[in-house]
Symmetry: C2
Subunit: 356 residues, 2 copies
Amino acid sequence: MSRAIHLTSTLTRTYPWLTAPLIISAPMRIMSGPALAVAVSRAGGLGFLGPNTTTQNIATDLAEVSSLLQSPHPPLPGSPTSHLPIGVGFQLWSDDLNTAITTIKQYRPCAVWLFAPANGQSDLDTWSARIRAAVPGTQIWVQIGTVSEATTLLSGREKPDAVVVQGAEAGGHGRANDGMGLMVLLPEIADVLAGSGIMVFGAGGIADGRGAAAALCLGAEGVVMGTRFLAAEEARISKGYQGEVVRVRDGAVMTTRTLLYNHLRGTFGWPQEYSPRTIVNRSWREFQAGRAFEELKRLHDEALKAGDEGWGAEGRLATYAGAAVGLIHEVKDAGTIVREVREQVWERLGGEKGRL
Amino acid sequence: MSRAIHLTSTLTRTYPWLTAPLIISAPMRIMSGPALAVAVSRAGGLGFLGPNTTTQNIATDLAEVSSLLQSPHPPLPGSPTSHLPIGVGFQLWSDDLNTAITTIKQYRPCAVWLFAPANGQSDLDTWSARIRAAVPGTQIWVQIGTVSEATTLLSGREKPDAVVVQGAEAGGHGRANDGMGLMVLLPEIADVLAGSGIMVFGAGGIADGRGAAAALCLGAEGVVMGTRFLAAEEARISKGYQGEVVRVRDGAVMTTRTLLYNHLRGTFGWPQEYSPRTIVNRSWREFQAGRAFEELKRLHDEALKAGDEGWGAEGRLATYAGAAVGLIHEVKDAGTIVREVREQVWERLGGEKGRL
């Protein structure tokens, strides 16, 4: 059995319900809701709630998580009573710290995933210190996408418990201009963080056991999937959007990083270091061909009224997704996704007598 | 022991001197010369000669390979007498087919690696048919970097024996605008080629056993390293250039794809689908800042006269290299590189009783 497949003692102590290897569902804004997060943790992974339209709404989601965890399902084996066995993601530039602290205090998620600060390390330090003071034991995860962010973290006041290294293949928001494929980024950052005691997880471009096993070989202690869980039954996502995740092939050509869909949706204010990867459709093609933004905006807003029909090859709506979209062909329940990916990792790394 | 580490029966039959897992040195133009290719094959890998300034010069390199193989070193175990245990790379848009055929007939390399046709599949078909007719048993490898090239290959007249899937992390020339990290590209192409009988190798961003093991998990039957071998003692490379490969960190930021250095060197004519990844230095920074090309060209040509001093952070010369450059810190002999990477793969995939 490969060493790469083991859970470290830190992981088993902190998240006692985990089954190796650690599979994490990314905190995708709105789409990673309570049902998805709970299903992933129930399957022995670690589910994250995504940010929401307002920070306040995360409290509503956490209340639903608590309620789902008290449902007839058996409790998670080894689950601690002190913290919820799910994590929560925050977009630092847009989320409200005080509301976040109140919420974290009330619900005690096992981990908080910090991303996209407006003021870099300084914001990360502030959030981390406040969270740690408010809820001891809640782990601090920080998402980064560059070597220099890793170097900066090491000189920060508050060292995170874990770093999520996000490769350029990832969907949704990531580094706009200085990203790199996980193949290179993960080992180079792992080298920078070696000896720091910070756990390293890999994200971006992972949609099955091949990618998951690869990330573990590259040095990750756990693997994060986002786009794969957009095609989970439990995802909080429109059918039209989900249909695109299943339909699209050739992720290199059919996805791109662009701010166009943010702007069509009226989303402004992301720090300039970030841009989202999205499936391209008619809005993008016509924008490339020179059609005026105002016209595209009008057509986008009409498409929005059409609901699920607004997505598709001829659709106009935002369809944020990673380049691994070409590896996803079927909607499945989240527990099955977690178990299948885990099986596939064991096939690759578990050895001939792998399943101990 | 993981299945991923095995050599298939096709590989052992075709290249009987190989030791698992298959480590391949890329055919880097000029820099992959006879000493490097022979050292890699002697270590149980598969060494490739790169293209040269003219197709005729490849014959000179092959003559040297033959002579090196007859040197006091013991012959490769299990090496076939019918073919040379090294491969040769051709740049189809610039190499001369008739000269190539004469050379291949005379020296019988075990594999020919075809790259960058001016006329896509049609050129690949022509070259493949001529090579197969001239030298039965010489394997045809084709380098691709997109899903659509894989689809096109399947409908071509001449199916290659192997495909090298090159991720966007790779150094030197690769896909200019439609590339993608190996993490996603390799499994998606492997799915397209499944059942075709075509072997799949992975290239781009691999510089140590972590990347090599990852590529095997992603579905490769062998892994190609280029930049790592630029820092081999046997590479045909200036010391100034090699020093940069060892010095540079943060491959995401310190390398980029640009045609600037091709043009500074007076290289024109590459098909528009391709551009090279290079370490950035003063020429690029000043070009970004708006300095006129003619001036940069003059300064470049002066730097050329300075020899090794022309490279470095303040240098001006072309320094083609992959994004994995940040993982390479030391010049080693090629045999050591091959053996160390193999060891590192075994540590990850070989299991607790791995070394059988």
